[in-house]
Amino acid sequence: MSAVISTGADWDFELLERYDSAIARIAGEFGLDTYANQIEVITSEQMLDAYASNGLPVGYPHWSYGKEFIRNEQAYRRGMQGLAYEIVINSDPCIAYLMEENTVTTQALVIAHACYGHNSFFKGNALFRQWTAADAIVDYLVFARRYVMECEERHGSPAVEEILDACHALTAHGVDRYRRPSPLTMKAETARLAEREAHKERQFNDLWRTVPIAAASTSAKPAKNFPEEPQENILYFVEKFSPKLAPWERELVRIVRKLAQYFYPQSQTKVMNEGWATFWHYTILNRLHESGQVDDGFMFEFLKSHTNVVYQPPFDSKHFGGMNPYALGFAMFSDLRRMCEAPTDEDRTWFPEIAGSDWRKTLDFAMRNFKDESFIAQYLSPRLIRELRLFAVADHRSESSLKVDSIHDDAGYRRVRKLLAQQHAREDRVPDVQIVSFDRDGDRSLTLRHTQRRGRQLNDAAAEVVVHLRRLWGFPVSLETWEDDVRVDSIDAIAA
């Protein structure tokens, strides 16, 4: 169709633009819906900076980011760790950082991967749509940075650091998993009250006055527990109800909480997000090759990078570091496409509504409506379980050895799939710790409850976290661990 865009390894901005427009055209043909792109070229030093701040372009100052930076820098300097080709930020416009050291092939790969793959995922996936305001995040970060620095000026950095340290310990427990109802406007609230009055008036019957009433029991009503329902968003509760926090401290809690919420979808869609982006860079660059816009040399280099990315070392390899989300995600999306285009009998039995359907619609639906846990539970096929040779190992306290729970055979497919899905659930990593009571009328103490399942205990750091929370709360805090309605453990922090 058109001539080869470039040969050789060097790139310049004009070339990047030509690759971008070629890739954009193909992405459009496949129907990818994206935010506008902003591509920024940075040096390796700047990449290290970006690493330290979770990839965000601005961040508030804190020692833990310094630690991250030192760790990465050290590893990079010694040649123990390479740097990512890119970092992409879920914002509108979608910002992608490209390293200047990349060859032109890598830049094209990265543009397809980040600017069209990740970007469309950010825009389409339900979790991101619900929880992140892509158009506001950069502004919020700027605000957060300025606010933290102002607080440091006014109250001294040790005081600020103390609050931030305490909040950081609780970030995983500072997110909402369900939306709160938005507060009613004044008008709606007035209307609601008026309607309630009107309803009472309609129901009025003078007869009720004549019914004798039993003497009201004099014994005091049992004190109502507060909060009425256990609260899982600990930082939110602290922000709203902490008896002692100064307003600026509350705002700091809020900042950490907001950022935690921003990252909440990312941690749950790693497999899907990376898989989706990898699937699309693979599909788009292959299309570029088919239409003659890139040469074979380009493809060889691209395929080398691509296979490195999607390599899944077996469990007994020294390179094994858990399931590779790129490998699993890419394999699953590719497998989905295969089921649509060339279904086997097995696929027809297991996935009757997918086998033979339009692959673009099926993939689009999968991308929009799932997170890792449900995506695996829904779409991991027996064929893929066989290909990856997945097997589950059970580690039970009551047994002296590990047991192979299930493998890639007829009896095991469903079980392996379920376990792999659970393994990617947030609940598998983040313990269930909730606030069960705040003694508002007494000593203002706060009680947390860890609901333990299957004997999985908290690690030793829990005591430190309780001390951090004590610092935020200002009054005694205790953490109780319950399993099957039996209290098994407790940690108290009376004095910070």
Binding site: F13, D20, S21, A24, A36, N37, Q38, E40, V41, I42, Q46, D49, S53, P61, H62, W63, Y65, G66, K67, I70, R71, Q74, R77, R78, G79, E161, D165, H168, L170, A172, H173, Q312, F315, D316, F320, G321, R389, L390, A392, V393, A394, D395, R397, S401, L402, K403, V404, D405, S406, D409, L419, Q422, V433, R454, R456, Q457, L458, A461, A462, H468
Partner: protein
């Protein structure tokens, strides 16, 4: 259509502020490490960065997390031999046999200390913090001149681009010989025995020898051709371009009354002068002269760490310094001298020394500093040497003297020196 932006020229030190915060938070660890490095290093090597170790648990950020206790299942890829119901012993580690816990295998590594390096500037800053230098002095030490990158041997870590292939392969050969030598010898012996056994026709023995040979061969095969410890990388450092040269004479009284504490103080005093000189001159040579009742020129180790006993004759040291200067540094050198002593001097020695200093030594010196080390708790009156030197100080402008009993008093000795430099 994407919007392309070139950000390469934007500020890069974005993480500097966070790094500084990290250092501040772990200041006690860093200071301790710096103190140790100062003690171990030679004066001339002092001005380098260094490595700091912080125990991993001190830098950990706590969060509610699961420990290792409890029932769980885990899915792994790459099954080859297992079927449902197989048992795998716990903690069988990596390798083909077990690996059920392979995912957590990395955790032990994570228990190591958190190690990071201090840059030269950071090291110096902390070093000076300890000495309570005023800001002015720190900036004086801050900026460095033009540097040249030079090869300095090989290092065990580095980036792949710097891999020294020949050196690496040499290491690998050495390691393979070291690991395989014993096996080769054993194999040779067995082969002979095997040949004999076959010749004699002792079939049973021959078979068992053959088995053992095969086993040894397998072990030989298992020695990796190339392994991580073999890696050698070309190392480069930045060395300043020489501009001018100076020599610094360190004179110290090492009689019995100079204990380790006083010597440590003296070392810091000498270091400061040395650092100051390295700012001004790109090559600085050091001459160490110690004296009791007799003076001798020694190397640095002996100077600081070898105790001697005897009386005190300051004059002998001054005389030797003058002799060395004449012999080796007569022209083309900026000569500085620093003397540390507890001031014990007897009879005619103080007066004679002061005169010699004034008449012979000082005219050919750029600057002379004298530090008298006194015990921290006592209000000792001025020593006889101090009294004599005081008169010298009144007369000349290239002479400074101070008394010090602790580290933070070291700096003022140099204050005058710095002020002079600012004027000239």
């Amino acid at each position: 259509m994407a919007h392309l932006i070139d950000r390469r020229l934007n500020d890069r030190g974005k993480s500097a502020v966070n790094r500084e915060r990290f250092l501040r938070r772990y200041k006690s660890h860093v200071q301790e490490a710096v103190r140790k490095m100062v003690g171990e290093r030679k004066l001339a090597d002092l001005e380098q960065g260094g490595e700091v170790r912080v125990p991993r648990k001190d830098v950990a950020e706590p969060a509610f997390n699961y420990g290792r206790v409890g029932d769980r299942e885990h899915v792994f890829p790459g099954n080859r031999e297992y079927v449902t119901g197989d048992r795998i012993p716990r903690n069988s580690g990596g390798g083909g046999g077990g690996g059920g816990e392979g995912g957590e295998g990395g955790e032990n590594d994570a228990q190591d200390d958190f190690v990071f390096s201090l840059s030269r500037e950071e090291f110096m800053q902390i070093f000076f913090d300890d000495l309570e230098l005023p800001r002015l002095a720190r900036t004086e030490f801050g900026p460095s001149r033009t540097f040249k990158s030079i090869r300095t041997g090989f290092a065990k870590t580095g980036v792949p681009a710097n891999l020294a292939v020949v050196r690496t392969m040499t290491q690998a050969i050495a390691r393979r010989i070291a690991l395989g030598g014993a096996l080769a010898r054993e194999s040779l012996g067995l082969q002979e025995a095997f040949a004999t056994a076959t010749a004699v026709g002792h079939a049973e023995l021959a078979a068992s020898l053959h088995d053992r040979l095969a086993r040894i061969e397998r072990r030989q095969d298992a020695i990796p051709f190339l392994d991580d410890p073999d890696m050698r990388f070309r190392n480069r450092i930045w060395r300043p371009e020489p501009i001018a040269r100076a020599v610094m004479f360190c004179l110290m009284d090492v009689s019995a009354s100079m204990d380790e504490d006083k010597k440590d103080l003296a070392k810091r005093f000498f270091s400061l002068l040395y650092l100051f000189l390295t700012r001004k001159y790109e090559t600085v040579e050091l001459v160490f002269i110690r004296h009791t009742d007799d003076a001798e020129e020694v190397d640095e180790d002996t100077f600081f760490h070898d105790p001697r006993s005897g009386g005190t004759v300051v004059f002998s040291a001054l005389e030797l310094a003058d002799k060395v200067r004449h012999a080796r540094y007569a022209t083309g050198w900026n000569v500085y001298a620093a003397q540390a002593s507890d001031g014990d001097a007897f009879g005619a020695d103080p007066a004679r020394s002061a005169r010699f200093l004034r008449e012979r030594l000082l005219p050919s010196l750029r600057y002379y500093t004298y530090l008298e080390l006194v015990p921290p708790d006592s209000e000792t009156r001025a020593s006889t040497l101090w009294a004599e030197y005081e008169r010298v100080a009144e007369e000349t402008r290239t002479f400074a003297m101070r008394r010090a009993s602790s580290r933070e008093q070291i700096y003022p000795v140099f204050r005058e020196l710095f002020r002079k430099e600012a004027h000239s």
